[in-house]
Symmetry: D2
Subunit: 304 residues, 4 copies
């Protein structure tokens, strides 16, 4: 397969196509991003690399870091982690908080905000210096020591994070949050504010695709079976209320963030990261979705 050609073709087609969606506007730092940014990076498990457009520009990976947080927590607790959250998709977002109430404070999966807050609580309980250790993990898995977070974004998220505060208080009322709420929210918003380039992101997800290589970064090892399970979770729950749509049209495990980033992997073949800040009403990058749909169509390989 000629990935280089396919990637370039897709990049041109998508870029020249209709724009749609809007840059995330709930905090000023995201709103000020240039909406026309567009980058693609694809890395194969056999060591090739294909980049296009703004693939080397930093952006806020937002919810994509939930995969890293889950990986560390899963490594620390093993299967016990599922006592505190489920592995099921959440259905329409409109009733997310009701489901939390109905299921007595146990979030449906680790990729909705409620679940990621529980993961953050687990990390705060189990790591000495949560922020430092998390950053170390990300630096090691991405092979890039320059990875850092954006303090302003973390701060802004916190200032406008009333909905997350509602979720965490609800879970605390059911006993599913162990630490101080402010502490977890602070850590959680830090997680959301990590910045990476497409290339770094694709690099960081290569270990989820490359099942032949042991997974162990900063002493957080995962078995092959555990990685497969994280991949399964990405396909079931990685795109909020559009997870089915992504599985249906793209057919790869992946994770999106409201910053406009999407990362996806094809087990044993490649990892790919796309960034374009305009997101649809479900919170997923419009160009990102289009790019990945074209990728599996043109390469004619998906996991199905």
């Amino acid at each position: 397969m000629n990935f280089s050609e396919i990637i370039n073709e897709i990049y041109s087609e998508v870029k020249c196509g209709e724009t749609d969606g809007h840059v995330a506007s709930y905090i000023p730092e995201l709103l000020n991003v240039n909406p026309d940014k567009f980058g693609i990076a694809l890395l194969t498990v056999d060591g090739n690399e294909f980049c296009c457009g703004d693939a080397e520009e930093k952006f806020s990976i937002q919810s994509i870091s939930k995969v890293f947080a889950l990986s560390i927590a899963f490594s620390l607790l093993g299967e016990k982690i599922w006592e505190r959250m489920g592995v099921e998709p959440s259905g329409t977002s409109f009733n997310s908080i009701m489901q939390l109430e109905y299921e007595k404070g146990k979030p449906r999966n680790p990729f909705i905000n409620a679940g990621a807050l529980v993961v953050a609580d687990i990390l705060v309980s189990n790591l000495k210096n949560p922020k430092e250790e998390f950053l170390e993990f990300v630096k090691e898995i991405s092979g890039n020591i320059s990875i850092s977070f954006n303090h302003k974004i973390a701060q802004s998220e916190k200032e406008f994070g009333f909905r997350n505060a509602a979720l965490i208080n609800m879970m605390k009322s059911y006993g599913n949050i162990k630490n101080d709420i402010e502490l977890i929210l602070d850590f959680y918003f830090f997680l959301c504010s990590i910045e990476m380039t497409c290339k770094e992101l694709a690099q960081s997800f290569l270990p989820y695709a490359n099942l032949s290589k042991p997974f162990n970064y900063k002493n957080f090892p995962l078995t092959k079976s555990q990685i497969k399970r994280i991949n399964a979770l990405m396909i079931s729950c990685g795109f909020y209320d559009e997870s089915g749509e992504f599985a249906f049209k793209v057919g790869l495990p992946g994770k999106s963030g409201v910053g406009g980033g999407i990362v996806a992997i094809h087990p044993n073949i490649y990892s790919v990261a796309v960034w374009s800040p305009r997101i649809n009403s479900k919170g997923n990058s419009v160009f990102g979705m289009k790019t990945l749909e074209m990728l599996t169509t043109k390469t004619e390989i998906s996991i199905f």
Copy 2:
């Protein structure tokens, strides 16, 4: 890989393990099935066949026939079919009817009952003799002309099918049902009452795994991309409120029925059918889930 050995090993282990769950009890015909029945059939795309236990005994495939119904409807309408239903998982079952109300009569996917009723409505609109043509399709895809349905079960389902009647009336009130309600319910309960053996079931699903062979049975052709999408839907929505769990633990597209049958496929490798009538509270066969989890664990291959 030695499928024969693995299948036999799993069969013994599961059979000797703890029993759990209960035979479906909402209609007498299902309740009277011997709960200890247990069969496995695995067929590879390269033509091998591995059977164990009661793999050649007929049972009620129930919701598994929703995949056949969708295949025909998808062949007939193409992408237009998604104007009438979604491709997203449904979240907890407790609010399924509310989501139907919230989303104005458009069911979340073709594998929940509401969605399958819309599929039935589509078939009733587009086929001259829906029951006959459906049966012909199933006979051809399974390569077995003896496939038939159980009239008593269809009748019983109808007598106790008030919940399905509630769903279809709700959708009709939103204009998403075109034909007479009684007519569709009759056809729907017919679909649920098809009987097959594990071997026949595995045979019928081989075309969903074998992407190198054209899919065209009784003049209902599907493209490779369409089959992949049906497979994606199976992984997102095939197991009711346990779809995430199945993706997580088994990692294969599949579909279950309350009769205790489960079918799953590994694209390009195999299709597998298991039958054991005891189901858990989510409606999925306990032994079936266990069998398939062990299968991907022992073979060390899943799609992730």
Copy 3:
């Protein structure tokens, strides 16, 4: 108090005020009513009568007949009736069917459709000739033997009654409906199609206001305490999702119908019926609500 003057004053003011709302459109028979019709009839327990406008023209009383149906059922079963439905308001209508599911087929009160269907089921179980006996009761309580129902409206309601069919099937699935569904729906739609004038309606509700007179029509007696409870239910649940609003602004027990009729009572003082076909988005007559709000404001008497 000079009711005559007050009623005339209100009539003029409301009639000349802004029109708002729309005639119910879900069946053609209701849609074809002249939207400008407007009548008021107030009857005092001490025997006076005040009428205005179209007070002697027949209209479809619709849900108002739920009070009569409940009265008969309450007379027949006594407190046992509350095993089959509650006495609580239903909250927003958007989740009515979900609450039915959550509360296992037991409707929240006898004035939402689900509850009225259970009441209809009770009457079908306990009366020899439900329609005839119901009509006899209404004729006797209204003191008017000419009361009848509109066959066309009953028929139309049935043809478009998919939502009611959804509700009753749901309740049947939980065992809270004893008779054949078609039979109850037929009786229920008959109840909705009773026609009366404002004057007849006010006359029929005088017994709910006049607590000093024994309540016993066609051998369906109610105690004073039972009548008070029906009145309490009217104030809690008589106006769908606007019951609180009506209690708040009007301060009287009452019941509305989508035909544009509203009836209300002031215990020991009067009963009043208003008819104006334009209804608001909650299903209550716009002029009717305004008229009754002005009535308690101008008379300075409400139950609070």
Copy 4:
């Protein structure tokens, strides 16, 4: 009517009857109250007073103070207050937070916690010294300058108030909370911790019954029509998910608190306060409900 005799009779009957329910246990301060406490105080608008049992012992009035808070806010803002909350009952409590989400942060009424938090927000916005002024109002309306609050209870409520924190954060995310969350919660928990005796409570609610006397305490005047509306709200929404039950069985406007207090009024006749700490699953005093049901039965007067 001989209130003295009736009250004594009820007191004896209820006290000797079956005990049921449990003392509120979510904070230690409430749990430690003697569950056998039982007091009744009834004050007539014409100046008589009837007390029984522990009528002069202080207890935590909890949610009953929501009526005082609403009165002040209503006096300050007039009808504009209803732009920020509704006047409708909330349906089953299980979906309260969902309704808040569905209705974009606007609580259904001022007596559910979400609504009372908005009222608290209004008072914090409009009063210079919210706590002092509130206490002054309560002292004046109860005619008792010794009224105070329990600091320990306020503190405890705060420590365990995660659910209220969830509600207020949710509303803040929709812009329906103007002040700092901590500030409002602090004031809200102060409101909940006011302590009174039955006699003081009955005295404080006499102004809601005595419509012939101008209502104006500490410069917070309300018109007769506004008081009637508060009374209407008490009957629709005063008893959480049992408001319909209370209207149905008791037939008076009233308000309950989880401390076991219930207050009710009969417009133009009397106000009555009961205290017994054992509450039912809906949060209402078991003896309190029984006492008031017997009161309207034995006196044969209710508002219906």
